[in-house]
């Protein structure tokens, strides 16, 4: 690893990340690294996510996106580097950070053999959401997830779109300031996906910072800023337009910029070729 360290730097809209982590940011990461044995899953990544931003985290399978999220949520300890989440050091004080963030995974992490209501009740208890507050949150989430009147249904019997929205409700029951979403829309039909992104925009409008991984390039276009991961390294970052412009052929106009998907494929193949040449 490491031979691809500076690939494409000249052309990449690699924002100058200041060397010191900033506590004004929702997330500020410096040199974050995770090794499993001799395998480096996340290799010294640096980036900042501003408060209120929708940050898209892209990369092929096995790039290290989930591993990075697990470090940022305080689930696993990094091998090296630092990470400030909502101004707090997540490595030193994971407990403090955990109360202020939410996490939703592709698996939704709902208890399938519990009812809608029981799931909400459980997650409310986990975050110590008090009785009165819970009643209000519950009403809001049931309406948001379109589950009013289905409170006593077993979660297993809900179809995927509803499960997904319930999972979002459960992950935000404590009104987190920062929400991590790891492939929240895989296996969901386009209509439900559109609906889900509307809900994410509502959250963003309320000032919640969103950190989203996805393999859908149309979703990447919804983000304010993107980070591309490849083989554990962060190889490009910037707004969707910046990223597309950086990889446009000479003389391209605003109308002929490559799509995010083209950029993604270009980045991945370029790095793969580099690595093979280096090896």
């Amino acid at each position: 690893m490491g031979q691809a360290a500076t690939v494409g730097d000249a052309a990449t809209p690699r924002e100058r990340v200041s060397s010191a982590p900033s506590s004004d940011m929702a997330i500020s990461v410096r040199g974050l690294t995770k090794r499993f044995g001799t395998f480096t899953a996340v290799d010294a990544i640096d980036f900042d996510v501003r408060r209120g931003e929708v940050f898209g985290f892209l990369g092929p399978n096995g790039a290290g996106k989930t591993t990075a999220i697990r470090m940022l949520t305080g689930t696993i300890a990094p091998t090296a580097g630092s990470a400030l989440v909502l101004g707090d050091d997540v490595i030193a004080k994971p407990e403090k950070v955990k109360r202020r963030i939410g996490y939703m995974s592709q698996k939704f992490a709902l208890f399938e053999d519990m009812t809608v209501d029981e799931n909400l009740r459980f997650y409310a208890g986990v975050y110590d959401v008090s009785g009165a507050e819970f009643a209000a949150r519950r009403r809001y989430i049931l309406r948001m997830a379109d589950l009013e009147g289905r409170e006593d249904e077993l979660t297993a019997n809900l179809s995927v779109g509803w499960k997904q929205r319930l999972a979002l409700g459960a992950a935000t029951i404590h009104e987190p300031e920062l929400l991590f979403l790891d492939e929240p829309t895989s296996g969901v039909d386009p209509v439900a996906r559109r609906h889900f992104w509307d809900l994410l925009y509502d959250l963003a409008d309320d000032g919640v910072t969103l950190f989203v991984t996805t393999h859908y390039m149309d979703e990447a276009n919804h983000c304010h800023r993107l980070g591309f991961m490849y083989a554990g390294r962060l190889i490009a970052q910037g707004s969707p337009t910046e990223v597309r412009a950086a990889y446009a052929p000479d003389g391209a106009t605003a109308g002929t910029l490559p799509s995010i998907e083209d950029v993604f494929v270009h980045l991945v193949t370029a790095h793969r070729d580099r690595q093979e040449d280096g090896a």
């Binding site: 300890a77 592709q106 992490a109 709902l110 053999d113 519990m114 459980f122 208890g125 975050y127």
Partner: protein
């Protein structure tokens, strides 16, 4: 440690348990099935043993003696060869499993106030049948002697027919009486292990385990919330087995509850630890169940639960010390049948405490480590 979190996790576990038919079956059907199976089949008294009688005495006494064997119900006389030499063939072919040889002159010697021997030949290929048969023979013979003494009213110097085998502690040789106390430990082990591992693996499969550690729930809270419900259910199971054993099978309890409870508590910690360890090495619920079986088979065979350790080959015996169930079986049997106390069982209880600390400690350490990676 937030007690509200722990209560919440316990509530969640019971809510899920109520809705999981597989776990519920495991929980309540299994002890009942095992109780019936082991209580009636394995633990059933050996009866109607096919028996050959060689009566060389042809006397009233010899006939009465044989009759008392037959009347016991344990022996069914199927052959009457005239010659001892025929017995070998009958035993070889499995036509009979027991042979009685009443030597010539039995009645004469008894009348003369001398002692005489009754030959009991037992097919040793099934050690359980063999020990049962010799135990019963000894009892029948001594009862026969007692009746003879009472009938003649004479205090004879010699006891009459010689009975050498003495059966200690379990005079009825009722297998159930030794089976059910050990069964309590066995059920505790198998069900705690399977249910613990199933429920943790299921949470991992569904992603709720990972989710838990993104929330303010701590590892300690999670572990307590996970283990306490299953400790409670195994207590219910054990009590069920004990009550059914006591009331239905009439198993006597002569021991001290404190000793039994200490033993079972230590064993429960071990079982919970094993369940956690299994959940760490298994990716799917099926794998977890297979791993449980992988532990259960040596536990069943090498613990003395079904096969007596005394009759194992000498090279195998050291292995039995590695099986935690071995100690629990001794504790349960000795307290139930003999009323053994803490000092009698010190070795077993210390061994169980060491197993509990080691296995549970390693499980918790590995569990935290695994989550940290």
């Amino acid at each position: 440690m937030n007690p509200r979190h722990i209560r919440l996790l316990i509530w969640k576990e019971f809510t899920q348990l109520r809705r999981d038919p597989l776990l519920l079956r495991l929980l309540f059907l299994m002890p009942v099935l095992m109780l019936v199976m082991l209580g009636y089949v394995v633990g059933a008294d050996v009866k109607n043993l096919k028996t050959a009688v060689v009566d060389l005495d042809h006397s009233a006494t010899s006939r009465a003696l044989v009759a008392s064997f037959e009347a016991s119900g344990y022996f069914r006389i199927v052959r009457h060869p005239n010659d001892e030499r025929a017995l070998r063939g009958l035993l070889d072919h499995g036509d009979v499993v027991v042979a009685l040889v009443v030597p010539e002159g039995t009645e004469r010697r008894l009348r003369a106030g001398r002692s005489t021997e009754l030959g009991v030949v037992v097919d040793g290929s099934d050690s359980r049948t063999a020990s049962t048969a010799s135990g019963y023979s000894a009892q029948i013979v001594s009862a026969f002697n007692r009746r003879r003494i009472e009938a003649t009213g004479v205090k004879l110097q010699a006891p009459g027919i010689d009975a050498r085998v003495r059966v200690l502690y379990n005079p009825g040789l009722r297998m159930v009486d030794t089976m059910i106390p050990s069964l309590i430990a066995y059920i505790l082990l198998i069900s705690t292990m399977s249910i613990m591992s199933q429920s943790v693996v299921r949470e991992r499969e569904r992603g709720t385990l990972e989710q838990m550690f993104v929330t303010p729930i701590s590892r300690g809270e999670y572990l307590i919330g996970k283990t306490v419900p299953y400790m409670l259910t195994s207590i219910v199971q054990m009590v069920t087995v004990a009550i059914v054993g006591r009331l239905w099978f009439g198993v006597p309890f002569n021991g001290s509850p404190a000793v039994v409870l200490s033993g079972l508590f230590l064993f429960m910690i071990t079982a919970v630890g094993l369940g956690l360890l299994i959940s760490l090495v298994s990716r799917t619920r099926t794998q977890a169940q297979q791993t449980v079986m992988f532990i259960m088979i040596p536990s069943m065979v090498l613990s003395g639960f079904i096969f007596p350790i005394e009759s194992m080959p000498a090279e195998i015996v050291p292995l039995t010390y590695l099986i935690p169930l071995r100690y629990a079986v001794v504790v349960m049997r000795s307290t139930f049948a003999k009323g053994s106390g803490f000092d009698d069982l010190a070795f077993q209880l210390v061994a169980m405490a060491l197993f509990a600390v080691a296995i549970f400690g390693v499980a918790v350490a590995r569990f935290s480590k695994r989550l940290a990676d």
